[in-house]
Subunit: 237 residues, 2 copies
Amino acid sequence: MHDSGSHPHHSHEEQHFQQSNLIRDVVIGMADGLTVPFALAAGLSGAVDSNAIVITAGIAEIAAGSIAMGLGGYLAGRTEIEHYDSELKREYHEVKHFYEKEKEEVREVFAQYGFSVPTQKLLADELAKDEDKWVEFMMKYELGLDKPDKKRATQSALNIGVAYIVGGIVPLSAYFFTDVPHDGLLYSSLITILCLLTFGYFKSKFTGQPPVNGALKTTGIGVIAAIAAYSIAKLFQ
Amino acid sequence: MHDSGSHPHHSHEEQHFQQSNLIRDVVIGMADGLTVPFALAAGLSGAVDSNAIVITAGIAEIAAGSIAMGLGGYLAGRTEIEHYDSELKREYHEVKHFYEKEKEEVREVFAQYGFSVPTQKLLADELAKDEDKWVEFMMKYELGLDKPDKKRATQSALNIGVAYIVGGIVPLSAYFFTDVPHDGLLYSSLITILCLLTFGYFKSKFTGQPPVNGALKTTGIGVIAAIAAYSIAKLFQ
């Protein structure tokens, strides 16, 4: 929508855009990394009497979770790109070989918004003059597909994976500096709740949501997950 | 795009649609539920000598993960609905109070696709006749927002959360029926890899991707996560 290529502040804006993407990735990965390792460690704290076991399990979870989230996100991004490219190829094929049918589809898109029949016809005729624009239009408004950013998908997956690791180390660190799981849980809860409030706040701010509300929601998920894990692990102990 | 309300097969199609949504939720939750608890249990198998600890940690992880995924998804869905509603209100306000500016924005949307200036003007004039259609158009084409389905968000979060629990029980079950973590890991790997292949296959089939490729990717993530968790837990043991 915004053609930054023709804009004099292009490189500045691009940089700004990349920075906020990075911040968003970090906040998402870190908030998730804080939640599950925190709750897992809390759950184990009620069931085992050794900090070493809590730490081992926590580290195994961080490894598993960061790979599932990072590699999973990377492959999902790749799949999305392949899907877009194959649909793009098909759309080009269709505007070439089913010219009239595709024009009818353009008219249908506009018919939804109450445009008159002559206007629908005019639109389809004008759009059909430029094949690239036509395909671009069909991709977005018939299929609802946005062009995925190839570089961004890889970078984003890496950012989220690393942020998950950093986030996961926070609740775990308390078990390094205490002697028994009970104390570990106390300090882990304190620092994790503080971090969840902070990350929930910024996460909501970046997505344009009410930040205090968002901070409470993000923290609430972590606390409920920890209480559930603690209760269930105690039950199965 | 498809006005099923005016369609004679309405209720049949709706049912079909709901069924495939359910299947998609289950497959997503289950594939994720298989991955992380599997990798966590594998990681602990290399570091502890008691199946009871692996099971306790696994159950704590399933509780934590299903709540993070289910409740997190539910709250994200609610946030999306609130965001849509507040943008909708703003768009109605804008078409009332900044009539000419909003018409200019309609012209800009069409300018991107190479429509001529008189056509842009005609489109904006026609669209402005019906306020509801106009707002609907701006929500989708200016802001890129689709109307979220309120009932669907809640149901989907619940489906995914429950599927995560069911998925997580699969890799863990092997530790119930064996005596030492080494044997548990062997059987857990066998059944989990089989399930990941199956779920990856169906997950890809439902999203229109090559299913064999998808089965290998889903399984690859699980296996890599398990190997990483095992190696790192062994190191920190």
